[in-house]
């Protein structure tokens, strides 16, 4: 069965302190890897799609990268407004393309 594991479960950073979140996956045929941001009491908000190893996507202070076994979400010089839970999901290679979600990393950025 396809699995998505995110680490760490929680991460506390000072404003400006760069770090990375990890998403490792086991899937028989990766059709795509997706990053979402979820604020408390809200639904997930789409951030990035990655399709192949070596691919990178950037948005403001966030950069997502992909290897054959894992993806990283790099956060450069974070600000308090980057505090959220970041979810990773992989597109399962079945008859219906179903997203398998990880449990997320809760990020807290302190001023």
């Amino acid at each position: 069965e396809d699995q998505v594991t995110q680490s760490p479960e929680a991460l506390r950073l000072q404003e400006g302190e760069s770090s990375s979140l990890n998403c490792s996956y086991t899937v028989s045929g990766l059709r795509g890897l997706f990053w979402y941001r979820q604020d408390p009491g809200k639904g997930p908000e789409f951030l990035f799609t990655l399709y192949s190893a070596g691919e990178e996507k950037e948005k403001e202070r966030l950069k997502a990268t992909l290897t054959k076994k894992e993806s990283f979400l790099h956060i450069t010089a974070p600000k308090p407004e980057d505090s959220a839970t970041y979810l990773c999901a992989v597109l399962e290679n079945t008859g219906f393309q179903k997203l398998v979600f990880g449990t997320g990393t809760r990020l807290l950025v302190s001023p």
């Binding site: 997706f34 009491g41 799609t49 393309q97 997203l99 398998v100």
Partner: protein, 112 residues
């Protein structure tokens, strides 16, 4: 532009009661989904629809039913509520059925 709208936002049910969670989207997306999110667990797919009149089961469909009579609406019916159905429910839509989903703000359901 409203996107995906869910109602109600909060609801408390007694064991054995039934209710419907409403979901509507104004983006003309063919694909719609219902997920549940429990603490420490990833989002789990309950049901999905690839277009009006077409629905199918996801990972955790037991105790739920759906219908899709229009492109816009995708209600989720809970029959005979059980404490195990206490969760946050998210409706989502997608234009192409791949991984870029647009989520509603969620409906928090408690069954006592």
């Amino acid at each position: 532009n409203a996107g995906v709208t869910q109602t109600p936002k909060f609801r408390i049910l007694k064991i054995g009661q039934s209710m419907t969670l409403q979901c509507t989207q104004d983006m003309n997306h063919n694909y719609m989904y219902w997920y549940r999110q429990d603490p420490g667990m990833g989002l789990k797919l309950i049901y999905y629809s690839v277009g009006a009149g077409i629905t199918d089961k996801g990972e955790v469909p037991n105790g739920y039913n759906v219908s899709r009579s229009t492109t816009e609406d995708f209600p989720l019916r809970l029959e005979l509520a059980a404490p195990s159905q206490t969760s946050v429910y998210f409706c989502a839509s997608s234009p192409g059925g791949a991984g870029e989903l647009f989520f509603g703000e969620g409906s928090r359901l408690t069954v006592l």
